[in-house]
């Protein structure tokens, strides 16, 4: 959703860290950063979802703006002057990462580890032995054989809600419930997924950045210490179920498919699949 260039669109030029960057009108500041080769952390942003600008890790300094602005959603306007590496920006990014790490389990949020190191985030400096901080601590929801939900890993990025709703599946099985630190992704009255509107497309799993939503196969392997991404191969193929032509990436470990994804830039899927493509691979193993 970054507004890829087409020939009929007009261009705007903004200045990022002193260098002029030209992007098509309607592009975001984040897209301009990408264009300029400036590495920018994101968490709640994804190219196949509408920006919700809630995590605030992508904030930048915009000349004339009192507060920092979220680069993921703010459209680039002609003449904007943007700074991405000032002390204010670095401080906010560091604090956001620290805050997240202080409240939830980021052990499987692989992308974030690099950023936490880059910004010197220390999530353990809050509270002490006598005064432990509040954390999200909930039992893992294992309600079926397809995927699990572990909300003690949830950073509330809204991606799963978007993928379940307007941005992909239009099933609306989950929403944010509660308020403040107690806000959680939930079905109505927290009913189990089989009792909810869930159609098991797994598109929520596909967009989750922290492992809070996970294939049951991956979860089971992790539980026994056998999840080995370094030993996995990824094979791109086309789904064999219908004629739409969705691309599948089969993640294979020890000659067994352990999960299925789809490239988010694929013209047919935008990274989203249905239950068959996502979970219906058992026949490959003759099961």
């Amino acid at each position: 959703m970054t507004g890829a260039a087409t020939v009929t669109e007009t261009a705007v030029t903004i200045t990022i860290d002193g260098q002029p960057v030209e992007v098509t009108e309607g592009s975001t500041i984040h897209a301009a950063c990408v264009e300029a080769g400036i590495d920018t952390p994101t968490l709640c942003w994804a190219e196949n979802l509408t920006p919700v600008n809630v995590c605030r890790v992508c904030v930048v300094e915009l000349e004339g703006s009192r507060a920092l602005v979220p680069s993921c959603s703010r459209p680039a306007e002609e003449g904007m002057v943007v700074q991405t590496d000032t002390p204010r920006v670095r401080h906010s990014r560091r604090m956001v990462l620290e805050f997240l790490g202080s409240g939830v389990d980021l052990s499987q949020a692989d992308d974030l580890h690099r950023w936490m190191e880059a910004y010197g985030a220390d999530p353990n400096r809050y509270g002490d032995e006598d005064h432990p901080v509040e954390r999200v601590d909930e039992p893992v929801k294992v309600q079926d054989e397809l995927y699990i939900r572990d909300y003690s890993k949830c950073v509330l990025c809204y991606k799963c809600v978007e993928a379940c709703g307007d941005d992909a599946q239009h099933t609306f099985a989950i929403a944010v419930a509660g308020r403040g630190f107690d806000a959680r992704i939930s079905t109505e009255f927290d009913v189990t997924l089989p009792d909810s509107a869930c159609v098991y497309c797994g598109n929520c799993v596909g967009v989750c950045p922290t492992g809070a939503l996970q294939f049951k196969t991956e979860y089971d392997l992790r539980e026994v210490g056998e999840w080995r991404p370094e030993d996995q191969t990824v094979t791109r193929t086309v789904c064999s179920y219908c004629g739409v032509g969705c691309n599948l990436d089969l993640h294979v470990q020890d000659e067994r498919i352990v999960k299925v994804t789809s490239p988010s830039d694929h013209s047919v899927t935008s990274g989203h699949l249905c239950i068959k493509g996502r979970f219906g691979w058992q026949y490959v193993h003759g099961e």
Binding site: R56, A67, V96, G103, T171, G180, E188, F189, A197
Partner: protein, 587 residues
């Protein structure tokens, strides 16, 4: 049937009837969506059709049975075409809604625990309610700080909500003061009588505005230098002109009657005792901006104000002052009331729009601004009642006359909510520029020990000032220069007997409770800030590292939060630390 998946739970007859009635009075038939309609073609777009009836429908369920049940949610979901998971997400956002069966049959007695009620002994009130068998819910500010400790009774079993203190006789502290402008009709005109309002000059301004035309009204409001009285002080003339310039889409005037800033009760008193003035000024705003749709979003804890406003709307409509060709101005304008359900954040304008739209009351990122993308994503002028009331004098007597009061940069008068340890707490109106000390004298001076310790300016989102600030002129420019704020007009005094640590820790807890949870800086920052202060309270001191941490947390909340709640969540805390009101000695 829509293609919304509903579980097996079904509404009881009582629940269904309550929802049907809530929709009927708003002119909606409780029928399910047409067969074949699919969610994928509607989604958020559905909001213009039915989704904004979600909040009234949830109120109806809560009031009928004391909670919102799975069957009730499913009924609302089916009737309004809202996915049940989303309806549940909305219901769980608000303090006044329960999604678990109540453990008591009766009404719920909400007792306020915020600053003014804290130092007035809310615990005694709670104990006496419990002793008489009432179910107590301790919660945030109820907007009755002048008569603290405050109580609001939420009805169940179909019984109406009520505020016991509303049954007491009401008198303004400045009754009979001839200099009153905004409050001049309060206690004089009968708030339940249109004739009485008219007899005291009511609807003259609308007639005059009709004669002047929209452009002249916009010019007058701009020339008067009127600015918003909710805290942000945005120029009203600029806002109205921006909405007036929008064409081709429906436009809205919203009265933000959701004042929830701890210490604030000004709009409540205005709405309760001069409701027609709110209606008349909204109509003028509609005329000036070209908006035909008026909405009042009022906090759920204000039953008397809600009833009086509804009475005023009904009377005005019957007299042709609302509706097609309102008051003969040639402009169509009407007003509907939506009740909030207990969420401080919904006083933030974009959160208010989302709440009224039927979504969770989460603020939107700005830009775009309400003047182009407000209610239902359409151009909207949103003002609070105090701001609106100023328009009457501007129209009746002209901007030059209006500017004879106040200062050059803060023209006019200001409503100030005096509470805490003052002789006569209540609502006061003074010209901008009056000093803080003179205002406290007007309110009977410092009560309790008689010795001032601090004043909380602007509420929980404001900041503390010390006794050395009594000469501070109360203007937008002087308070800003002094590093504080008028905010929503809160002036809460604390004498030397008050333990300020308790007060400040509660303010931090307030933000922790009221953060909507959307953005990380505020959702986590407000929790960590409160935890750090609780730790300080237990230890009796704050280490330099912890003191620095408070500033670091404040910086990210100010810089990177989505809305004003996060931007101000550390403001009072830091001012209390700077003034040495709490934990001045590091260990």
């Amino acid at each position: 049937m829509t293609d919304i998946y509903l579980g097996a739970d079904r509404a009881t007859d009582v629940e269904a009837a309550a929802v049907d009635e809530a929709l009927r009075v708003r002119g909606v038939d409780a029928v399910v969506q047409p067969e074949g309609e699919r969610l994928y073609i509607s989604g958020r777009a559905r909001r213009l059709q039915r989704r904004h009836f979600l909040l009234p429908a949830l109120h109806a369920l809560q009031n009928a049975t004391g909670w919102i049940s799975p069957g009730g949610i499913n009924y609302v979901a089916e009737v309004l075409g809202v996915p049940p998971a989303e309806a549940f997400g909305v219901a769980t956002f608000y303090d006044l809604f329960r999604t678990e069966p109540p453990d008591h049959d009766g009404d719920t007695f909400h007792v306020c625990v915020d600053a003014a009620c804290q130092i007035a002994g809310y615990d005694d009130l709670a104990a006496s309610v419990r002793a008489s068998g009432g179910h107590v819910h301790l919660g945030p500010c109820l907007g009755q700080c002048e008569r603290a400790p405050a109580l609001f009774v939420q009805g169940s079993g179909g019984r109406p909500d009520r505020v016991p203190a509303d049954e007491e006789p009401f008198e303004l502290p400045q009754a009979d003061d001839p200099s009153l402008r905004l409050l001049r009709r309060i206690g004089v005109a009968d708030p339940e009588s249109l004739e009485s309002y008219m007899a005291h000059g009511g609807y003259e301004a609308l007639r005059r505005a009709g004669d002047m035309g929209a452009e002249a009204v916009l010019e007058a409001v701009a020339a008067a230098g009127l600015s918003g009285r909710g805290g942000a002080a945005f120029p009203t003339g600029v806002k109205w002109r921006a909405v007036a310039a929008e064409t081709g889409r429906p436009k809205h005037v919203v009265a933000n009657c959701d004042e929830s800033e701890p210490g604030t009760f000004k709009d409540r008193i205005v709405m309760e005792h001069d409701p027609f003035a709110v209606i008349e000024t909204m109509t003028i705003a509609g005329l000036a901006t070209g908006a035909q749709n008026g909405w009042i979003y009022i906090r759920g804890e204000y039953p008397l104000a809600t009833a009086r406003l509804q009475g005023a709307i009904d009377a005005a409509r019957a007299a042709g002052l609302l509706g097609p060709d309102a008051a003969g101005t040639g402009h169509d304008f009407d007003i509907a009331i939506w009740r909030g359900a207990g969420a401080y954040i919904c006083g933030e304008e974009t959160a208010l729009f989302n709440s009224l739209d039927g979504f969770r009351g989460e603020p939107r990122n700005k830009p775009p601004f309400p003047t182009t993308h407000g209610l239902f994503g359409e151009p909207t002028a949103i003002n609070n009642p105090e701001t609106l009331l100023n328009v009457l004098d501007i129209i009746l007597h002209g901007p030059e006359n209006y500017r004879t009061r106040g200062t050059e940069r803060s023209p006019g008068t200001k409503l100030l909510c005096l509470s805490g340890k003052v002789g006569r707490p209540g609502l006061y109106e003074v010209p901008f520029g009056t000093s803080l000390g003179d205002l406290l004298e007007l309110a009977g001076g410092v009560a309790g020990t008689g010795e001032l310790q601090a004043v909380l300016m602007g509420g929980a989102a404001g900041s503390f000032v010390g006794p050395d600030s009594l000469d501070l002129p109360l203007t937008l420019e002087d308070t800003r220069a002094a590093g504080t704020t008028l905010g929503s007009g809160v002036v809460m005094a604390f004498d030397t007997s008050v333990d300020m640590t308790d007060v400040v820790v509660r303010i931090a807890e307030f933000f922790r409770d009221e953060s909507c949870g959307q953005c990380v800086p505020c959702r986590v920052g407000a929790v960590r800030q409160h935890e750090t202060l609780v730790q300080m309270q237990k230890r009796g001191s704050l280490s330099p590292a912890r003191r620095a941490l408070i500033d670091e947390m404040a910086e990210v909340m100010v810089d990177a939060s989505i809305c004003g709640l996060g931007h101000t969540a550390a403001s009072a805390v830091r001012s209390a630390l700077s003034l040495g009101l709490i934990a001045s000695a590091p260990s």
